[in-house]
Amino acid sequence: MGSYILRRLLLALPSVLGISVVLFTVLALAPGDPFEELATNPNVPAEVRLLLRAKFGLDDPIWQRYFRWLSAMLQGDWGFSFISRVDVDILILQRMPVTLAVIGASQVLALLIALPVGIYSAAKPYSWFDRIASTLAFIGFSLPTFFTGLLLIYLFSITLGWLPFVYRADITASGAQWWWEHLRQAIMPVLVLGLFQGASWMRYVRSAMLDVIRLDYVTTARSKGLKERVVVIRHVVRNALIPVVTLVALQMPAVFGGAIVTEQIFRIPGIGSLLIDAILRNDTPVIMAVTFVFACLVIFFNLIADLLYGWLDPRISYR
């Protein structure tokens, strides 16, 4: 097991390097200039702009800039944002808690919906409950999050006026008030992300359950006279969830990506909105760092998924 993890980690290194090369090249070749805003401001002499470009090394050849970035990265220096002149790791750490809170809550919500609904639907396939749940699930994952987000804003913020649609990371209130304010502003984004994710996971849970529920050992369990409840929970769900668990792990990084749009709509100061701002302003060091973090997350969660699979299903062994 230990040697397997080590081998996987070693294998991950070249892919991380490859990703960084591709990212850097694409960004360097993409048009644009972090000091674009200065160009349209006649108060700023052109020399100042040229000086800034030279100072931040933007005029050097791409390969030089890449190796400078790489060697700094290896020493733990993520560089600093051209726009805010703040260290990138500080920027990312500042945004991390909000993203984790919102995404985490939406994932929990998604699981809370997907598991019971999926299991019950599979236990009674093609019943009225199953049909309604499936229909809603199809609607749920067919509607893009930016659409449901706007819909919820229109309904709850504008028509009814119940919920705020601007998310504020630092709320000054304390105690119960603090929790209440956070809850109020988080309801809509968490619902949007959670329902979307929950809908597709519910379909996975249902089909995984249906695969298992027809197997012989389930019939055996039933014929032993076990209660239906026990059969489903003890025998079916445990086995059916193995592919679902890995799926959830694999989906984690994708969820960070999916949250970008939602963060923009609700002004959530998370990693996603940081990335969008950085892209709009051509702030290369920030884009590099955030996309690089995403890439590492993908690789990391792949490894987690593989390990989890083996742990849950002893028939799979690592060599």
């Binding site: 160009a39 349209t40 630092d170």
Partner: protein, 596 residues
């Protein structure tokens, strides 16, 4: 308007027959800025208008939190690194300049004890120096006193190339001396009629020596205060997340009585202009929103919500079209659009005049901009009350057709005019922006009726406005026949603005297309007049020259001004804010309050 007429007007203001406001409005309509017009009066010894204070609160604080929404959040809080107004606004909550511009071009003292004048000995007779007296008993947020040393330090910091300060242009050619602990003298290398640039308004914010002292020059990026500002402003720093939020709390030791009214301020960033407008106008979640680039129709519907209203403030931004006088498609001396080449159509004055007649400014104002755009013929600002007599605009397709017929451009079989085998097919580019694409369509339609075929091209803003030498689609290269964008006139002195038509500023390969003369206008007469303006010491003569320069460009139809774009801001119905088109939104933040 001639020098003599301006002098007469100034005299009328002095004796009191002409209201000061009207004088400024008239000069503004001729292409000067309000601050510049106001300076003319000051030079003539006419006292500044004493702006009546409308500030009502009788005690400091007690107003709760002021919640402002900036859809582009502040990314840094060091005013001399600010790359855009959003950063300057964020910094302005904490830092202050010596004086600010109000909407009528008056200088309002903030950290200055008074505005320098000839009468109080602040302005030297030769125009080469200004003496600023600073307010005493002003303290920085950390309790240290504010003195002349801080002004000196700010100047040294900004002019040092190693600091890479954005404001270097303002400070590099001046010299600042300390007269005593609360007096400084700014000396210019040549007589400078417009002396209020350094230490004034957005680029004049003063930073504390005792905080930034150890971090000047190359170490400037490392200063902790870049993220945790220590200023003299009405609010003290409490929290900052780049691109997301700036928060400040009341400064109990603020140097103006009964101010500020609010206990805290919050400036939230992110999102888009439309939803920012919604949060202020429709749901009232926020008190103030910056730069509402939203179609007027949409804003009117939101205002119906009854929570807030849109404030429209005149400023000097102009949406205009440039006609390329050079050939953008063939290389001459290894360069496209070289000044040595000639455009097949736009070098003809008749064609340029026809193009100007085909710009339906009124249609653009009525159907696209609404309150947020006013049709104009002037290259610079033009409030409707004082329309310039020198230039006028007209939308007349028939007249354009006649002119083109007369100039020998005959319609071909496909309805497109041609002369000498060259068809009137032009490429017309602008940045990607739904409003601009609509404007393009309006102009294309009119041109079609006059037998001109426009190919519309839109380039994404990040590319169009970049100085990327490798990209062919930047506005600086202008490698097409026509282009349209907005030029801002944030700088109050016209000298910097008018140099964009001088021949030595022509954007070309030699200056990496960074030259300010993007439309490559060249006229010996213009160059000569501009030089005369630079050397002119008499502010009145100088103003007359700038007005003439402006007229020259417009009469020649080298550029076609379309719309002035006043600033649109959203504010809660109860919020009393004082906004100026010549300074930052937060230029008089200390005076903002909420009505009961």
């Amino acid at each position: 308007m001639q020098e003599r007429e301006i002098r007469e007007l100034i005299e009328e203001v002095r004796v009191g027959t002409l209201p000061r406001r009207q004088f400024i409005g008239q000069l503004v309509s001729l292409g000067l800025t309000a601050p510049m017009a106001s300076m003319l009066l000051m030079h003539a010894g006419v006292a500044q208008a004493q702006p009546v204070s409308t500030y009502k609160p009788t005690k400091r604080g007690g107003g709760g939190t002021l919640k402002a929404l900036w859809w582009q959040g502040a990314t840094l809080l060091q005013p001399h690194f600010a790359s855009g107004t959003k950063d300057q606004e964020g910094s302005r909550i904490f830092y202050e300049p010596l004086a600010v511009w109000d909407n009528e071009g008056n200088l309002i003292p903030i950290l200055a004890a008074e505005i320098p004048t000839r009468a109080n000995g602040g302005l030297a007779a030769d125009g080469k120096s200004v003496v600023w007296r600073l307010k005493k008993d002003v303290t920085w947020h950390d309790g240290k006193p504010f003195t002349a040393d801080d002004c000196l330090f700010t100047w040294e910091f900004a002019r040092d190339p190693a600091s890479a300060a954005i404001t270097a242009g303002v400070y590099k050619d001046i010299k600042v001396d300390k007269v005593d602990s609360h007096t400084i003298r700014v000396t210019f290398t040549k007589p400078t009629p417009f002396w209020a640039a350094a230490f004034v308004a957005a680029e004049g914010m003063i930073i504390p020596k005792h905080v930034f002292g150890p971090y000047s020059g190359a170490k400037s990026r490392e200063a902790p205060a870049n993220l945790k500002p220590v200023g003299t402003g009405p609010y003290k720093f409490s929290d900052f997340k780049p691109g997301d939020i700036v928060r400040g709390e009341i400064n109990q030791n603020y140097h103006m009585p009964n101010r500020p009214y609010f206990d805290a301020i919050e400036m939230k960033g992110g999102g888009d202009a439309t939803s920012a407008a919604r949060a202020v106008l429709q749901t009232g979640e926020y008190d103030y929103a910056w730069n509402l680039q939203v179609e007027d129709e949409v804003m009117k519907r939101m205002e119906a919500g009854g929570k807030g209203k849109v404030h429209v403030i005149d400023s000097g931004d102009i949406e205009f079209i440039q006609l390329n006088p050079t050939d953008p498609y063939t290389e001459v001396d290894g360069e496209r659009g070289s000044v040595k080449s000639k455009h097949f159509a736009f070098t003809e004055a008749a064609v340029r005049e026809a193009m100007s007649l085909l710009a339906d400014r009124k249609g653009i104002q009525d159907f696209i901009y609404g309150r947020t755009g006013v049709a104009t013929s002037n290259f610079m600002n033009n409030p409707p009350r004082f329309r310039s007599p020198n230039t006028k605009w007209e939308f007349n397709i028939d007249k354009a057709n006649q002119i083109l017929d007369g100039a020998g451009w005959k319609r071909g079989a496909d309805g497109v005019r041609e002369k000498g085998g060259k068809k009137m097919k032009f490429v017309f580019q602008t940045s990607v922006n739904s409003i601009r694409q609509k404007e393009q369509a309006v102009i294309k339609q009119a041109c079609q009726k006059a037998g001109i075929d426009l190919e519309l091209k839109s380039v994404t803003g990040a590319v169009f406005f970049s100085s990327d030498v490798a990209n062919p689609d930047t506005y600086g290269k202008f490698w097409c026949d026509m282009q349209m964008y907005t030029t801002t006139m944030t700088q109050p002195d016209a000298e910097r603005f008018m140099d964009q038509y001088t021949s030595w500023e022509v954007s070309s390969k030699a200056n990496k297309w960074l030259g300010r003369n993007i439309c490559r206008y060249r006229s010996e007469e213009y160059d000569k007049a501009y030089h005369a303006g630079e050397l002119e010491l008499d502010p009145v003569k100088r103003a007359a020259i700038f007005i003439r320069l402006n007229d020259m460009v417009i009469k020649d139809n080298a550029v076609i001004p379309l719309i002035t774009r006043p600033r649109a801001r959203g504010a809660n119905l109860k919020l009393v804010s004082t906004l100026s088109g010549w300074d930052l939104d937060f230029s008089t933040l200390q005076n903002w309050y909420r009505e009961a």
